[in-house]
Structure formats: C-alpha cells, structure tokens
C-alpha cells in the first residue's frame, strides 16, 4: 500500500492547490460513503485525500437573489432538515432521501453523489430536472456548469484535475411550480434504482404546463436530460394523451443495460410508467404552490 496523506484545508484555494499539485492518485473526501468504501476494498489506493468539509462555502445553505445555493458538502440530513429548502424543492429532497440509510445520509452529500458518477445516483436526476447549476472552482478559476454536463460515464466526470464542485445554484421558484423524483427498486428501502425519474414543471394560472424538465437515471451511462419528454408536457393539462407522449419520449431516450436488477425491456417500460407518476406528483405539488416560494 502506498503512503497516504490526509489534508483538511479550511480554504478553497488551499484545497485546489493541494489537488492540482498532487502527483499520484488523489481523492476529494466529502461524506466518504463511496470513497472510503473504495479505499477499504482497495478499488483505489490514493496517495492524497483532501477533506473538503472544513471549507465554509461547501457547507452552507444560502439564499442568493431569491434562490437557493447549496454547498456541495452539505449532508443529506442537513438538507432534508432544512424546512424552506424542502418546501421549495420537494423533488430534490425526494432524491436525497433515497440515498442510503439514515446513517449514510448523516454523511453523504449531493456533490459526492454527483462526482461518484453512478448512473443510478438518486439525487442526480432530481438536480437535473430542477435545473441546478454546479459552481466549479479549480486552478484556472471558477465556472458554472449544468449538472447534466458533469457525469460523462460510469465513475467519470468532466471535472479537470484540481477542480472541486463548490455548490449548486437552484433557479428561483415561480408560482405554480413543483418537482418530484421517483425511483423503482425491487425492495422498498436500501436498494439501487432500476429506473429513476425527476420531473420539474411550472403551470400557468389555468393549470396549463408552461415549462417542464424531465430527467432519467439508471437507464444510460449517465443520468439524462430528456428534452423530448419535457416538450411532451408543454401546453398540456397533463391529460392522458400528454402523459402517454411523455411515457413514449422517456422510453425512447433509454439506453439501458441488462443486469440482475432489470432487463432492458423492463427498464424502458418502467421509465415511461414512472415518468407519468412523477409528473402527476409534480403537478399536485405545483397546484399546492399558488404563489411561489419566497425564500
């Protein structure tokens, strides 16, 4: 085993410098619920672990111009205990609540869930549907990137050496907006998604859909933003034909694997069924949000 060095810098600049200078394998440590398992099972043997939990920007839930900015190393428990965030983004919270047990949520973070880049990560489709923008800091400065552009394949991201996800900016929450995330698992708890669907919609005063984003997880090498599925809902009142078009578009976007959790055909079918159900949950939440969420 290589010699391992642990660092816990208190500033973003120091963390970036440590990672950028590292010669061997390095890992960012946030909640550690994936990284420590990989270390324990010798999947990775890093020479440097940079614990980012002492960096203030990564640990805050802040409000910026009427919208939430959530630190990438905020834990699942911290997020699901934040009442105003839960009211504004119940679908994102649906996803975070499904990340492992209560013990796991005591440590696990959305930044880690995204950077671990599992196609089945539960918070990622919800973040994509929400339109969350990741702020990334690195040796060449700061850039803002849509969440859907970060995972590039199983275990792979578009982050460069030395880059760290600092936070996620959520858009402002207008009147009659609502989101939802649903996943299919053979068991009710402690399982990995066979399909996950995030839906985020806005209605006009007459209940007609004016904006819709749909994201699928576990049906392709990365979570997908399915624009055709969102377009299927636009202008509709979520009547049966619109929901059928949504299901059709969701299924058509799937490029799933066959594995012990489900066959390709099953995943494609379930993606459509779950997309309909998630859309109906999101609509119900939008109807219960007549004035928007002032933050």
């Amino acid at each position: 085993m290589n010699s391992l060095r642990y660092e816990a810098p208190s500033s973003l600049g120091d963390a970036i410098a440590l990672l950028a200078r590292a010669s061997g394998t390095s890992r960012i440590l946030a909640g550690g619920t994936d990284v420590i398992v990989q270390m324990e099972t010798d999947v990775i043997e890093p020479e440097l672990v940079v614990d980012i939990k002492r960096i203030p920007e990564l640990r805050q839930i802040a409000v910026e111009n009427g919208a939430f900015r959530v630190g990438a190393a905020v834990t699942g428990m911290e997020l699901t205990d934040h009442r105003a965030f839960c009211e504004a983004w119940p679908g994102v919270v649906d996803g975070v609540k499904l990340i492992g047990s209560m013990q796991i949520k005591g440590r696990a973070t959305m930044g880690g869930n995204l950077c671990n880049a599992s196609p089945a990560a539960d918070s990622v489709p919800a973040l994509i549907a929400a339109g969350a923008i990741a702020r990334i800091a690195g040796p060449n400065g700061t850039r803002d990137v849509a969440v859907e552009d970060i995972p590039t394949g199983p275990g792979k991201t578009s982050l460069a050496k030395g880059e760290i996800i600092v936070s996620f900016l959520f858009p402002p929450r207008p009147a009659r907006s609502g989101d939802a995330y649903l996943r299919m698992t053979p068991r009710t708890e402690m399982d990995i998604a066979v399909v996950g669907v995030g839906v985020n919609i806005v209605l006009d005063a007459g209940g007609v859909c004016t904006a819709a984003r749909v994201s699928l997880g576990a049906v392709a090498p990365t979570a997908l933003l399915v624009k055709e599925a969102g377009a299927a809902l636009l202008g509709s009142r979520f009547d049966a034909p619109a929901l059928d078009r949504l299901a059709q578009a969701a299924g058509a976007a799937c490029r799933p694997i066959d594995d012990k959790r489900g066959t390709k055909e099953y995943r494609v079918n379930v993606a459509g069924v779950l997309a309909k159900r998630a859309a109906l949950v999101a609509v119900e939440r939008a109807r219960q949000n007549p004035t928007g969420r002032s933050i």
Binding site: M1, M102, G106
Partner: protein, 159 residues
C-alpha cells in the same frame, strides 16, 4: 508507512487522544486503539449499520468515517448509553422483549433507535421500520426489535 496523525476527541463525554494512520476508520480506532469494542463491525461498507455511532449529534456508520476526521468531534457510542448499572429504557426493553438474539447488530440498533426517539418521541411502527432500515439483523426477523423500540418510546413518554 503513512504518517501518524494526532487526534483529540470526546467519546461519551471523556476526552481521548489517539494516534492514527490516515486510512484507519473511526471504527478501527474505537475497537482496536480505544478498546471500545461495543461498536461492532459487520460489513465494513456502510450497508449493515452494526457500527452506528453518533458524531456531533448525527448518526453515522463509523466504518465510513476516517479516524483522523474525528479531531475535535463529539462521539457517542453504546458504552455511554447506560448510566453505571442503570440501563437505558431502550436497553431494558430489548432485554425484556427479546429484541436480540446473537447481539451483533444490537449496539448499532440501540444507538439508531435512541437517535430516532430524540427526534420523534412518538414514532409509528412504519417510522421505526424506515428509520432502522439501515440496521440489518440476520437473527430476529425485526419484529421483536420494532416492538422493543415502541415499548421503550411509550415508557419514555411516560404513557
């Protein structure tokens, strides 16, 4: 060899200092360095909950935290649950209602159940089952565990 890290922490109200290597988990140090062997190792991958402890008031799997991260933290383990010979109501109800068989999962379940009752003194059976979903027991079939938690909750509410 990796450098050793000096850590100062509080376990069950007592201050501890230890030296650890960076790859050692909190579970390793609790059991092998501090000799607090009440916390159990089951899977060592965060799936079974046998190693559940509280860190700064949050319940976590101690197999998924590096020992070096413990610096300055407040850690609570099963050893701190009874006050001398005075068992916690959860412990007493587990004994009286046979909420355990082999006992390996029990310390983690007791810590998790205590954390639940501190947040929610009157949980439904469903809430108890979901809260404890990350604590696996391969002996009991869970029913007696759930009954023990509900009985302890009732006793603690003075109902």
């Amino acid at each position: 060899m990796s450098k050793k890290y000096h850590v100062t922490t509080t376990v069950n109200g007592d201050e501890y200092e230890y030296l650890c290597e960076p790859q050692q988990t909190l579970l390793d140090v609790l059991r092998d360095e501090l000799m607090l062997t009440g916390t159990k190792e089951g899977c060592a991958t965060g799936d079974c909950g046998a190693c559940t402890v509280m860190v700064d008031g949050t319940m976590i799997c101690s197999c998924l935290m590096l020992a070096v991260e413990g610096d300055g933290k407040k850690i609570e383990t099963i050893e701190g649950m009874a006050k001398g010979d005075d068992l916690h109501p959860l412990q007493r109800n587990f004994l009286e209602l046979n909420g355990l068989q082999c006992g390996i999962c029990t310390p983690g379940i007791l810590i998790a159940a205590k954390a639940l009752l501190e947040r929610n003194p009157d949980p439904s059976e469903t809430e108890v089952r979901y809260w404890l979903a990350g604590n696996l027991c391969r002996c009991t079939g869970y029913d007696k565990i759930i009954r023990s938690v509900l009985a302890a909750a009732k006793e603690m509410r003075g109902a």
